[in-house]
């Protein structure tokens, strides 16, 4: 089976400043991947290369054995969906109208999926609300429903797709953080490849099969949560001393309040 996504020495530089340097990556279909790293490590830039937003200045990113830059915006939209960290809507669209925007690739296929997407983010009571009056977390869930609808519409035509999330939990309360992580896990079980930037190491460890740790534009670690959430790596990359514990399932967790500087 071919990889869902591969990056070969993908780099991105602005002028002489390298934001991402020679990242090699092979992502299998149905993998659930978290990208972690300190601010400015190049996580968002890497995600923007993987989503087709920006072309690598060197190297290549391929999706299903075809270079990402050869896809038209429409073809890409049918195969991958992206949830941005923050989406600002300047006009008073309703929640329903925003979610429908995810179905632009194929409106007929979307009709039966629409209610499911709204239910998934628990916004049934908000359908007619003006999205500009919602709280940050409610807006984020609206956009998550839109992205899910786009993903499912695409999958109905082209098979399992790719879901990219850029710090999806930053404005969510703990309940909705877990909801979203659970949703992503279910998507992955159905064959969707999920790649998410996460700031919360514990959520990353609990949520992902595989963690990519970035530091100064390079991929410093790539492996299972237990292999990546290690005191020596955390000390080197984040410059904090953290002790790593294990929960009852053997998954690693850290307690930032016990960190020594």
């Amino acid at each position: 089976m071919s990889a869902a996504l591969t990056a070969n020495a993908a780099s991105f530089a602005i002028g002489s400043v390298a934001l991402v340097e020679r990242v090699d990556l092979r992502v299998e279909p149905g993998e659930l991947i978290a990208i972690v790293g300190p601010n400015g490590a190049g996580k968002s830039t890497l995600l923007r290369m993987l989503s087709g937003d920006v072309r690598p200045t060197a190297g290549a990113v391929r999706m299903a054995n075809r270079d990402l830059s050869t896809y038209s915006p429409r073809e890409l939209a049918g195969r991958r969906a992206v949830l941005a960290q923050h989406t600002n809507v300047g006009f008073p669209f309703s929640v329903e109208e925003i979610v429908w925007m995810g179905a632009d690739i194929d409106r007929r296929k979307a009709a039966p999926l629409f209610d499911r997407a709204i239910r998934e983010v628990r916004l049934e009571a908000f359908r007619d609300r003006d999205v500009t009056t919602l709280s940050g977390g409610e807006q984020q869930r609206t956009h998550f429903a839109r992205v899910l609808l786009q993903l499912w519409c695409g999958e109905a035509s082209y098979g399992p797709g790719l879901l990219l999330l850029d710090e999806p939990t930053s404005s969510l309360d703990i309940r909705h953080q877990l909801d979203l992580a659970e949703m992503a896990r279910r998507c992955a079980r159905d064959g969707t490849t999920v790649i998410a930037i996460l700031h919360d190491l514990n959520l990353a460890a609990r949520f992902a099969d595989r963690i990519l740790m970035m530091h100064q534009g390079a991929l410093t670690a790539d492996g299972t949560p237990s292999a990546v959430i290690r005191p020596d790596l955390l000390a080197r990359v984040f410059d904090v001393e953290l002790s790593v514990s294990r929960d009852s399932t053997g998954a690693p967790f850290v307690l930032p309040q016990l960190a020594k500087r």
Binding site: R48, S51, G52, D53, S72, P73, R74, L76, A77, G78, R80, A81, V82, A84, T87, N88, V89, G90, F91, P92, F93, S94, V95, E97, I98, M101, G102, D104, I105, D128, R129, D130, V131, T133, L134, H143, Q150
Partner: protein, 361 residues
């Protein structure tokens, strides 16, 4: 539940009419408005004589005044009113399009200098081409004027876009201030041209500065109608994508929009619509802000309905404004730009104060 909660829980739309109903209501409003406008003027034509004056009745049934009415109507009033309607459509719809393109409800081609850029180019074509063309080719000037105005508007819109949008984000404050500066530059340029112009050219230029429909004729009505028709056809194509652009440029790309292509299409269209409107009646401000804003309150922000509805209501507004402008100080005529500014500017201030946080103040 606190009072805040109740306020926040207010539905986004308690009542939104269907699109067919909206367009039907607006078109009937336009027809009524057109009929009333036809009856008003220096030579009054009461509604009862209107059918005969419009040659809708056989000559035998027409009254004794039919011949005079027909002359007034067909050679003066009808072309002027139709031009007013078409220019109103162009102004309002180009405002709505520009607001979608810049994701900013305060964008208006007249306010941010796009119209001034067009007017500057039009004035330049009057002053600079006048002598080059010579007397034999002077008739070309009528055709060069809209093209020059289009070119001026296009250059201005592109400059504005370059300045105000960085990496897919448009800063609204930067956009408005840059527009102000561009308008000032264009107006300074017009000032220089006025200084260089001879008497006849001066009269032609002054006509732009004031904004009046008194120069309307059938040729202008038909050429503006052509641009409006093209615009309405392109709307069908870009409206859906403009809705997606509301999410942001990269988000629109993620949902499958070829953002660069649609931006280019919209910029050219806004410039063509503004340029043609300017070439007919000079700089008429605020129609492009007031009309889409009022409509959004009733029919919601979706561009699929907003663009054609703006075209209808813009026509209604400008026909009404022009009727007032040509009768209120009769036998003289008030420049229509003064009238729309007097109504529109306070309205703009009201939007600005209500949506303070949008501008970051």
């Amino acid at each position: 539940m606190t009072v805040m909660d109740i306020g926040r829980r207010r539905a986004a739309r308690s009542f939104r009419p269907r699109s067919g109903v909206t367009i039907a209501v607006l078109l009937s409003l336009l027809l009524i408005c057109l009929a009333l406008a036809l009856t008003v003027g220096a030579a009054g034509i009461p509604l009862s004589r209107l059918p005969a004056a419009l040659r809708l009745l056989p000559d035998a049934d027409a009254g004794p005044l039919a011949a005079r009415d027909q002359l007034v109507l067909w050679s003066i009033r009808l072309p002027r009113i139709l031009t007013a309607a078409i220019v109103g459509s162009l102004l309002a719809a180009s405002g709505a399009l520009m607001q979608g393109l810049f994701r900013n409800p305060l964008a208006d081609p007249a306010l941010v200098g796009v119209s001034s850029g067009g007017a500057f180019a039009a004035a330049a074509s009057i002053v600079l081409l006048d002598h080059t063309l010579g007397n034999n080719l002077r008739f070309l000037q009528d055709h060069l004027l809209p093209i020059a105005a289009f070119g001026g508007s296009l250059v201005t819109t592109i400059i504005l876009f370059r300045i105000a949008s960085r990496a897919g984000n448009t800063s609204i404050a930067l956009f408005l201030l840059a527009g102000l500066a561009i308008a000032a530059i264009a107006n300074a340029g017009i000032g220089v041209l006025v200084f260089l112009a001879d008497d006849r050219q001066l009269r032609d230029i002054t006509f732009w500065m004031m904004g009046s429909l008194s120069g309307a004729n059938w040729a202008k009505a038909s050429s503006t109608a052509l641009v409006l028709l093209i615009a309405l056809l392109v709307f069908v194509k870009v409206a859906r994508h403009l809705d997606l652009l509301v999410l942001g440029e990269s988000e629109a790309f993620h949902t499958g929009v070829d953002v660069e292509r649609m931006k280019l299409l919209s910029i050219v269209l806004v410039s063509a619509m503004t340029g043609v409107a300017v070439s007919v009646c000079g700089v008429v401000g605020f129609v492009g802000i007031v009309v889409p804003h009022l409509l959004r309150l009733v029919i919601g922000p979706s561009h699929r309905l907003l663009l054609p509805a703006s075209a209808c209501l813009g026509a209604v507004m400008l026909v009404a404004a022009d009727t007032v402008a040509r009768t209120i100080v009769a036998p003289a005529e008030m420049p229509i730009g003064i009238l729309t500014a007097a109504i529109g500017a306070p309205f703009f201030l009201a939007i600005l104060l209500r949506q303070r946080k949008l501008v970051g103040l």
